[in-house]
Symmetry: C2
Subunit: 341 residues, 2 copies
DNA sequence: TTGTACGCGTTATCAA
DNA sequence: TTGATAACGCGTACAA
């Protein structure tokens, strides 16, 4: 007699025996209660409670070739922008039977591809992935995946499946337009990391300035170094050293904007009178600073929430109203661009 | 004949056939190459490559009652403090065969317990959990779990298994001592969230002030509201309204400290001359602000890194040098507490 | 609505 | 060092 011991915990067979039914009835009662009569369902639920039965997700995944995992891939764990979205995803998914599997691609396309491969290997219920700049191989993997796929944080023309986000090009354009409207003339751009979304913000910014006749490539200062507050102070210092007539900057993100503010304060430059500053994302601190900082507000929590809602709808067989959801953005004007003309 | 289709991808049996060996030999070659002869190992590795075989983690977990999952439970996804540690955990774990399973307890002990239950149900290779304040039930679950368990972010007397972190009590004490040394007399405390670690920082702070003869409970201002920069400005305003003679504050964390700085600037109070400010954690922005902000530096990345190293060592059967690892902290003095006496 | 029989892909057990 | 066989716990297919 060769018995293996297993994990020792109750199985669906134990529940079935206690409830006096077959295992498949228990299985059905747990996954879709409507398929089992009230009478048996009650008995089964009682047995589950008494035995403290917990479904064995690996066995379930193996038998059904479908796991309850939702794979989520983001390029950064420390960027606040993704933190809010992740929080929303966890908040939404924790209700149901799903498990989040989180991957960090570190802004490296090949790492992203590897993660997608690994996650798809688990037969996920759905995939959520940041951005629209996947490699061809990654796109193909996801297209062939038999599960809903949502690209988040931005929108574009060519979704793998679904998309929730906003247009970074339009966001950058709005920032540029705003600075011109406030009367600033020599308007610069500070950019860190310069991932594809940053590039699109820059393109939108350029577009606005060209239209306004104020585009000057000499005022654009970017680096691939990752973003930080200190870097904002550094970059604005460098740009001013190059062009002392600079009178406003659009910062790639809020960390840089805060750093630029500190840099100006150290150099004795008055914000907003001698220098206008606008950031991107509108993190909580932007409203609290002194002077308060203008920014482009994006609803990152909503992006995560809606992404999960779209997934749930598709899994429930609902026909989606739209595959692409543009949540837009909103310019929050504050003191840093409100100069007395 | 009733064939089910499976996931369609190559299985260990396909590899075995191609290599001309049995399945179990392939299994062994993959898990512990030293158990298989060079000759067969080479053939197997070739077959794996040719078929593009990827092990099926659910099947493995089912058969072995042990998954490659490392469960990680933190109380917040948006708090930068945990973001750095998480990044380290992902960096370390991405190398090996492990998968991170991340849970967000939202600072709710019951949610934490539920997550622990769920994760343990997956037969994890290890568990990492923030803090030392688990419920009795959670402790018992983890104690009975047949895997390494590391409590992170703080150290204490009574580890479930292992611990990596530092003493929040001592950190708070160092902050209080520093403010007294700099000559501040009426020293307050600003605290948000007030989770157990915040409480221990406060206790350390009180201890220092009592020793220095400067303890005044009237100068302690706390709230259970979650921390933010805006809140820092608000709290220091409230505390000053109550006690206009306040001349320094120890802020529970850096967000509050930055907010307190902004609050002072708005009210026309000079930092550090009329108000000393010290934060906790030393986020990157603290060195960049104007004036720069003193803080207690903690090495959050190292905490994650060391936690994973301890896990790997224990899984490799090594005898740990120590079950409790205190990584300490370091006071970073900056302008916000450097007044001209 | 309920049940029977079997397979999902892997590893533990025992034997050689 | 290698292999045959039987689990691991559950869901699918088919039948009643």
């Amino acid at each position: 007699m060769r018995k293996r011991k297993g994990a020792g915990r109750p199985t669906i067979a134990d529940v079935a025996e206690k409830a006096g039914v077959s295992t498949i009835t228990v299985s059905r009662a747990l996954r879709d209660p409507s398929k089992v009569s009230d009478h048996l369902r009650r008995k089964i639920n009682n047995a589950v409670r008494k035995l403290n039965y917990v479904p064995h997700s690996h066995a379930s995944a193996l038998a059904s070739t479908r796991s309850n995992i939702v794979g989520v891939i983001v390029p950064s764990l420390t960027n606040n922008v993704f933190a809010d979205t992740l929080r929303a995803i966890y908040d939404e998914l924790d209700q149901g039977p799903f498990q989040v599997q989180l991957g960090n691609s570190r802004y490296v396309a090949k790492d992203e591809e590897r993660l997608v491969r690994t996650f798809l290997g688990q037969g996920p219920s759905a995939m959520i992935i940041a951005g629209t700049d996947q490699t061809d191989a990654t796109r193909e993997l996801l297209q062939n995946a038999e599960c809903p796929v949502v690209q988040i944080m931005e929108v574009g023309d060519d979704p793998i499946d679904m998309m929730v986000g906003f247009s970074h090009f339009e966001g950058g354009k709005a920032a540029g337009t705003h600075l011109m409207q406030k009367g600033y003339k020599r308007i610069g751009f500070l950019g860190a990391r310069m991932d594809p979304r940053s590039h699109r913000r820059l393109e939108g910014f350029k577009d606005a300035l060209r239209i306004g006749g104020r585009y000057d490539p000499d005022l654009i200062m970017t680096t691939t170094v990752s973003s930080s507050v200190s870097l904002g102070a550094e970059l604005i210092g460098q740009l001013r050293a190059r062009r002392s007539d600079l009178d406003a900057v659009f910062c790639n993100n809020d960390d840089l904007a805060l750093g630029a503010l500190f840099g100006c304060q150290k150099a004795g430059i008055s914000v907003p009178d001698d220098m206008g500053i606008i950031g991107f994302n509108d993190l909580e601190m932007m409203a609290a600073s002194h002077p308060s900082l203008t920014s482009i507000r994006t609803d990152r929590y909503a992006i995560g929430k809606r992404a999960v809602e779209m997934i749930k709808a598709e899994l429930d067989g609902e026909v989606p109203e739209q595959k692409i959801l543009d949540l837009g953005f909103e310019l929050q004007q504050r003191e840093s661009t409100s100069r007395q003309k």
